[in-house]
């Protein structure tokens, strides 16, 4: 039985019913969530029996110069489906959004990595420090303006 990729619409409607102001918009494969709401939205995605996204596959960030996209690849091991949740952050100086560490502990190292390499802060992460590079390193190497 193959895993099904949920469409953005399916996830978004389910999410909107519970948290009306969390969803920004949706695309065929992606749900865009307000960055401030990401933690509560993710908690709902995890705990909702029909969505059941208890497994965070991957957490990454993409630097689009003007903004950062945070990408969450979610998997439901029980219901066998996947979804992609994104949040868009504007501003390059101190972009920050709530951590999903309380929801999935698997986000621990990935959030630290995003902070280390992309410079996106996660509020509420208990141990947000550099992971690959040493403390005191200047800059965030995966940003497009880092040379």
């Amino acid at each position: 039985m193959a895993v099904r990729a949920l469409t953005g619409q399916e996830v978004a409607q389910r999410l909107e019913a519970a948290l009306p102001d969390a969803v920004e918009r949706w695309e065929p494969e992606v749900v865009w969530v307000h960055p401030g709401q990401i933690s509560t939205a993710c908690r709902f995605l995890r705990d909702d029996p029909e969505l059941d996204f208890r497994f965070l596959s991957s957490l990454s960030a993409v630097d689009f110069i003007g903004h950062f996209d945070l990408v969450y690849h979610l998997t439901s091991l029980g219901r066998r489906h996947t979804a992609v949740v994104k949040a868009r952050l504007y501003g390059r100086d101190t972009p920050s959004l709530p951590s999903v560490y309380p929801v999935w502990q698997g986000a621990d190292f990935q959030e630290r990595e995003v902070w280390d390499l992309m410079g996106v802060r996660f509020e509420g992460h208990p141990n947000l420090k550099r992971i690959m590079l040493w403390e005191g390193f200047e800059g965030h190497p995966l940003r497009k303006d880092f040379l």
């Binding site: 596959s57 630097d63 990408v71 992609v84 621990d108 990935q110 690959m132 190497p141």
Partner: protein
């Protein structure tokens, strides 16, 4: 009478015989019992994700070889599947079979390394089981050399297929390997799998509950040992995995013994898959006629994932229409399997720590990328 002891903090690593590379654990001991543990890594960070943004799509294949350097084939496979998703192409059937075949051979080789070093960490000095594992792995690497001219950093797969068909003498050599290897595997199992010392050392040690494993994004044999039959080869069949039949070994307790057992059983299943691939493979083209320098449409993104020997290996690629990926995020199973370090180690002894770490089978090349 309570016996007061003073906590002692020890750095295990970065240079230590059993940390699988340059990896450091800051451990606080009470006597020999671990009370706190914090993994520290980054010593092998090479910036693969940044380098990938500077290279074209085919050149990145050579970078993926160096992620998890004991299973290059599956790294190539994950990346190529991601690029194929990005481009919207499907490789020819023969290429799919070849990929499945080499991926399973690589899985056997990787599990042999995992099991061998696990036993080495249990303290079989002289490295007897390790050498038996290496002996068998050597045969697989010989096959890889025959296929693509390199043993470790293979670069055999290309987006859209494999670089070239197997040479004519590959099939008899593979056949010879399939004749010899089951005997060697049986010997290894006889040596270790039911050894009483190994059992008292591993059974019930560092159990990993399933809910913790799932919450910590653990994947691969470690997740399966905790009791969930989750295997991307079954769940989302890529390449030719929908054409072959195999079982997914599942543990019950998630302890060190289960992790070892799951790996050993997966080797058997991989052998079976290799046999089926050899029986089913048909002549045909092995590579799509793609240009040397690939371009994807702007704004397209793809997340390609496979079941690597260590777990879910994913490549998240974003294209801006250029010749190289705009962003290449590597979801490395070794890094995420390390999330459970604290759950695994706290409360256990120093000797168990090394063994549990070995049972997770991390690879620092992949952790640090």
């Amino acid at each position: 009478m309570p016996f007061r002891t003073e906590p002692m903090t020890v750095n295990i690593g970065p240079q230590h015989p059993s940390t699988h590379g340059v990896f450091r654990l800051r451990v606080t001991f009470d006597g020999e019992v671990i009370t706190e543990v914090e993994p520290v890594f980054g010593y092998l960070h090479r910036g693969t994700e940044k380098l990938a943004e500077e290279r074209n799509y085919v050149q990145v294949v050579t970078l993926t070889d160096r992620l998890d350097y004991v299973s290059s084939m599956t790294n190539n496979q994950a990346y190529c599947i991601a690029v194929e998703k990005l481009l919207g192409v499907t490789p020819p059937l023969r290429a799919k079979y070849l990929r499945t075949l080499v991926a399973e051979l690589q899985r056997i080789a990787s599990h042999l390394i995992g099991v061998g070093f696990f036993l080495q960490e249990l303290g079989t000095f002289g490295g007897t089981p390790l050498m038996y594992c290496f002996r068998s792995r050597e045969r697989i690497l010989d096959l890889f050399e025959m296929l693509c001219g390199a043993r470790i950093t293979v670069s055999y797969l290309r987006p859209g297929g494999v670089f070239s068909d197997a040479p004519a003498d590959f099939w008899p050599a593979l056949d010879a390997f399939m004749q010899v290897f089951p005997g060697e595997l049986a010997e290894l199992e006889q040596l270790v799998l039911e050894n009483e010392i190994l059992m008292v050392r591993t059974r019930g040690v560092s159990p990993l509950p399933l809910d913790v494993a799932v919450n910590c994004s653990v994947s691969g044999p470690v997740l399966r040992a905790s009791g969930l039959a989750w295997d991307w080869r079954k769940e989302d069949p890529y390449d030719a995995y929908d054409q072959v039949r195999f079982e997914v070994p599942v543990g019950t307790n998630g302890d060190n013994y289960d992790r070892l057992w799951v790996r050993m059983q997966e080797v058997h299943q991989s052998l079976s898959i290799v046999r089926q691939c050899v029986a089913q493979i048909e002549p045909g083209p092995v590579r799509l006629d793609l240009p040397l320098v690939l371009r994807a449409e702007a704004g397209v993104e793809a997340y390609g994932r496979i079941e690597s020997p260590r777990g879910e290996l994913g490549f998240y690629l974003v294209s801006d229409g250029g010749i190289s990926p705009y962003r290449c995020k590597i979801r490395s199973p070794s890094l995420l399997n390390l999330t459970v370090t604290e759950h695994l180690l706290v409360g256990w002894k120093l000797a168990d720590m090394i063994v549990s770490l070995g049972s997770v089978d991390i690879n620092m090349g992949e952790v640090d990328r």
